[in-house]
Amino acid sequence: MTNRKYRDPARPLAALLAVALAIAMSACGSSNKNSSSGSSGTTTSSSSSSQPGKGKPAVTIGDKNFTEQYVLGELYAQALRAKGYTVKIKSNIGSSEIIDKALTSGKLDLYPEYTGVILSELAHATKRPGSPDEAYAKAKQFEEGRGFTMLDKTPFFDSDALAVKPDFATKNSLASVADLKKLGSSLRLGAPPEFKTRFEGLIGLKKSYGVTPAFKPLAIGLQYKALDTGKIDVADVFTTDGQLQNGKYTVLKDPKFIFGFQNVAPIVSKKTLSAQGPEFADTLNAVSAKLTTEAMQKMNAAVDLDKQKPAAVAKQFLQANGLL
């Protein structure tokens, strides 16, 4: 077997070229379809004459993998675009640790997070806040300690809550979470897997209320069906879920606030804020101010139950409130 090279240099070069071409194709082709609904880079607003966003660097907003987040992402993005900002959305991010890492490593500029989640999952705070304002203040303090900050919080808070079917509630005389204790471990509770290891979850239930149910992991969005079909007795729901609007389910009170306070506030890096100018924060704060619990429930319902698109729902809401 001779050692003579049979390949001329053209072959590996050609291969390299093909690879480079393909990578270039893929990088250019990577478009996010969620950012192309309704309003694009061009403004659609008639009332606002100022375009503070023009000329500023592009901003990437992230949102997690459930309806409320899709809506929030769209609300913020569309409001910004109306003021001339260039916004991309990275939607449907499947893991909250991934989204936070993406933020801290600069892959995202902003994403809407829940104050309580920041405290328990990111700051690993041991002392539980006593009020929404305290929760927000502590979360903001934490974020500022690592180069980020939080914009204004929304009026609504989307905490976890436990919901049961009304007849189950009447049958077992349930009004608050504490009443679940008597059902012991015959109680079947359905919740996302993270519920098991969170204080705003099984741990807090056990510690503060002495409630020890049998745990059935479910993805977010599947709990109502599971309740309806009797697969579980009590579900971990969110207080702004669209399904809760019409009294179909009974939400149990949480007098000890183990589920904390979960107002939403956009986390954004200080660098981004200074690069984008003061109107950036103002635009976002104007949106947040309008988000009441009822508004959020109705928007979530429109997406989850009526299958409207988050982008369309966000657009309608912004228009109705003069923000677009």
Partner: protein, 240 residues
Amino acid sequence: MIIADTVIPNFGGGAHSCVRENRGFCWSWVQDNWNSVLWPAVRQHVELTAIAIVIGFVIAFWLALLAHRRRGLEAPITVSTGVLYTIPSLALFQILVGFSFLGLNRLTVEIALVSYTLLILFRNTLEGLRSVPADVREAALGMGLTRRQVLTRVELPLALPAIVAGLRIATVTVISLATVAAFIDDEGLGSPIFRAIQSNVFKTELFAAGGLAVILALLADGLLVLAQRLVTPWARRQRA
């Protein structure tokens, strides 16, 4: 400054009752959302797959050529591509995102997808090259062909069936994995699937997106079967 009360518009609830009641399959939803949801997802899925296969093939082909010349390389290449292949995709996607220079985007997805194609394409190509009988090679050399000409005119054509077979497996594997990629990059047919599961288990979207992925995979497989037949005219003659 007085902030006006929130106005909640009537969102219309304009959805077809079929959609609202989540009945089996609502054709109206498919029609309404083809251009905005389904077709873009299909297009992205095809793009993701095509790019992964092209890049994966280029790399694997080159590796196979190397291993064909130097037998000692086969084992390490097989082992390393094999390790990549065995890592569950959900984990590989997340590990890649952990690297600071990789984002939640197509590049990260493609790196993972390409990794999964390497073992299959490498082994099939190498097998194909090896399947050329030694005496055929010797005869060609004897006829005065250079090493390179032996490769391009004798070995590769005879290896084509195995190569195309490998492409076939790799393609359907990538199509399947690309649905999972939506976990970190909201593209491809996995995206509507995840959203549908999350959004009150919306059946129509599940059937539509899932069905399209199945059709896409079967179509790709079928096309490659045809390609396989085309590159083996002698087998065709045998069958006749």
